[in-house]
Symmetry: none
Subunit: 401 residues, 2 copies
């Protein structure tokens, strides 16, 4: 991997266009009955065509054996070392709902949760209350005032909310109050560095007041906080790659992350066809396009092998809408694997396909985990995909004389 | 990749011999009519034999997507991380013409260029004057004297020259005076660190005098300087690998780089046959041999697919001269790809072949980009080749107990 600072020195502006189609949780595991993964089960004539004309491989989002969250998975795809550029959960949650952070704000991801009479957690998610209920409760918590700090409480989805503290001398080096299991009391907010003691005190006062406010609102009678974090310093894709990037995504987290990297955000409310209509509409105005498909991951998380197969087939059917635009470079991959058999993100490397006029095709005849394993890209870290896409778009000059 | 410092601890002297044949710009792209690259088009029975008995792979000189200059490409082949051991443009230019640097010399690459009456650059390359004209102008600039510093001005080629400052307290942390575009005035030499202010002052005085000297010499009426640099501190191959290395090369840049790494330099003025005669002549005196073939790269740069094919075939025909010496390890690769279709260096990984008695052969049946893509070496960074060669020569002991 070459550092972003080096890329910045060799990247140049050019009219060529790159489309990166991220099929979330794309990689899978074989159904024991057939020996085929979700992608191998799906009928994908267009992706197979593209794999034949392009070059394929398997990519490790973080490194072999590491199961990435969505944040690190996507950062890596955009060429940002996900270990170096760690984004805290709190900030990620805030980005997801479009919260406009200021430097030094401290964010946390919150859960409404249920405690019993002895203060023990009985449900970390308060029975997964509705987003409307969550919004109402956030309204109540938002009325809490504490001296010397500004507070923001925003609903995210279901039982999830965002807490942001704004003020002087705040630090994010604070342990989670969420113990990640029921049957115990919530943890007290505690500073992991002396400089965060002031912030921990504020948080504990806030939690105390929140508990009072929520007392009559069971099952949402307590809050749990985790992922205390500040906005990281990340150079934009404009600075790094001299691109004018656009994100076409439906879900807040992906839009938030894209915004953090300086992408213009284009909302889409439907499936892949809708997303590709949006792509077509904004195609002239940008030169890099991140198109996000979430439903593969959701189906994988639900353990629904066949639904994941169907979503992949929908993506394949719509693919000509993308290729008809004749982008100079097309990348199709995922941010991680989500095998239906594991019902969650996994560490398995993800199929990746790169098409351009200059890609030096390999002998891969279709887009699948097995075929990609013998592809010309080999097995590569995800952070290398973006430099490859840039190179194939002829947007990188020589490194050194 | 393991650091050089570690290699140094485990390398041992032994009588075994390593020959590294660097076919410059070896990697290519397929001719759209045949689907075959230059190497795949060439008839290469000897290389194919060697590939069958050896182990093959594809190597990335710097990292995937990065197009290396010749300096970084070769440094990597010799096991030196080309990002860590960056050689400045000025120094590389000097090495290229065999300038004998002393420690702390500051070198810059210069362009003769044209400015108009208002001082705006109209041609950064002074109409690409001939090397003879360049030499004459360098003679004039070489007569400039400045107190406290020794000046060297040497022609390189066309409009390009080398400037070297020698003296006390010189620093190379100076921004380019070449703004890299026409229509603006040249930049003033400015120090990027306070310690370079003295050097920047000297440079600005030199540029002022150069402008006076060149006043009547339009289109060469100005100079532009870039790539200010000092000789980097690079441990020699002797220190690192305990080798007694030799370089057999024709072009100055490669000889200069080899000298920097402590190789003994053996000139060759002809093609591969001549080079291999030199190899035979010095074979007893050394244990590592870098044999450089430049013409593949030149043909690629010229976009001459068939000439590149012919040069590869010449190398193949001469190969028995090399293998008849029965080196313990033979490595055949390139410092980067230079596809005739792109008429320049490219980012594509380079075929690499390693033969030794101990190499654990793979199933590769011929030496080509496609075959190497499924070779036993996989896709590997070029800096890993040298440790592999050393290991196969049984010149590396165990790492750790």
């Amino acid at each position: 991997m070459i550092a972003l600072e080096e890329i910045r020195h060799i990247s140049v502006v050019s009219p060529s266009k790159i489309v990166m189609l991220v099929i979330d949780g794309l990689g899978g595991l074989p159904d024991p009955k057939t020996g085929w993964t979700e992608l191998e089960t799906a009928s994908t004539p267009h992706l197979d065509d593209l794999a034949r004309s392009g070059i394929c491989g398997l990519t490790d989002p973080v490194s072999p054996g590491i199961t990435p969250g969505s944040g690190p998975g996507h950062l890596a795809l955009f060429g940002y070392d996900p270990v170096r550029f760690a984004i805290g959960r709190g900030v990620l949650e805030g980005l997801g709902i479009g919260f406009e952070f200021r430097e030094n704000d401290v964010a946390a991801r919150g859960n409404f949760s249920t405690i019993d009479g002895r203060g023990l957690i009985t449900d970390r998610r308060a029975g997964r209350i509705t987003t409307d209920e969550c919004a109402e409760l956030c309204g109540l918590l938002g009325q809490i005032t504490l001296e010397g700090v500004e507070l923001f409480v925003r609903p995210v989805r279901d039982h999830r909310f965002l807490l942001v503290l704004r003020g002087e001398d705040l630090a994010a080096t604070i342990d989670d109050t969420d113990p990640q299991r029921a049957g115990v009391t919530p943890n007290v907010a505690s500073a992991t560095k002396p400089s965060a003691k002031h912030t921990a005190d504020i948080l504990n006062r806030f939690i105390g007041k929140a508990k009072e406010v929520l007392a009559g609102h069971a099952p949402s009678n307590m809050i749990l906080l985790r992922g205390f974090s500040k906005l990281p310093h990340i150079p934009s894709m404009g600075e790094t790659y001299k691109l004018k990037p656009a994100a076409i995504a439906r879900y807040p987290m992906y839009k938030g992350l894209a915004r953090l990297l300086g992408m213009a955000i284009f909302d889409t409310n439907g499936g892949i066809e809708e997303a590709l209509k949006v792509l077509t509409a904004c195609y002239n105005e940008h030169d890099f396009f991140f198109v996000h498909v979430k439903e593969t991951d959701s189906a994988g998380e639900d353990g629904d092998f066949l639904r994941k197969v169907r979503v992949i087939e929908q993506v394949d059917s719509a693919l000509p809408q993308l290729t008809d635009l004749k982008p100079d470079v097309v990348v199709v991959t995922g941010d991680h694997s989500t095998p239906a058999l594991l019902k969650g993100h996994s560490w398995h490397p993800v199929p990746v396909l790169l098409y351009s006029q200059w890609c030096r095709p390999d002998r891969v005849e279709g887009f699948s985990e097995s075929a990609c394993a013998s592809g010309g890209l080999g097995r590569l870290p995800a952070v290398d995909i973006m430099p490859l896409a840039m190179a194939n778009a002829l947007k990188l000059t020589k490194f050194g004389a």
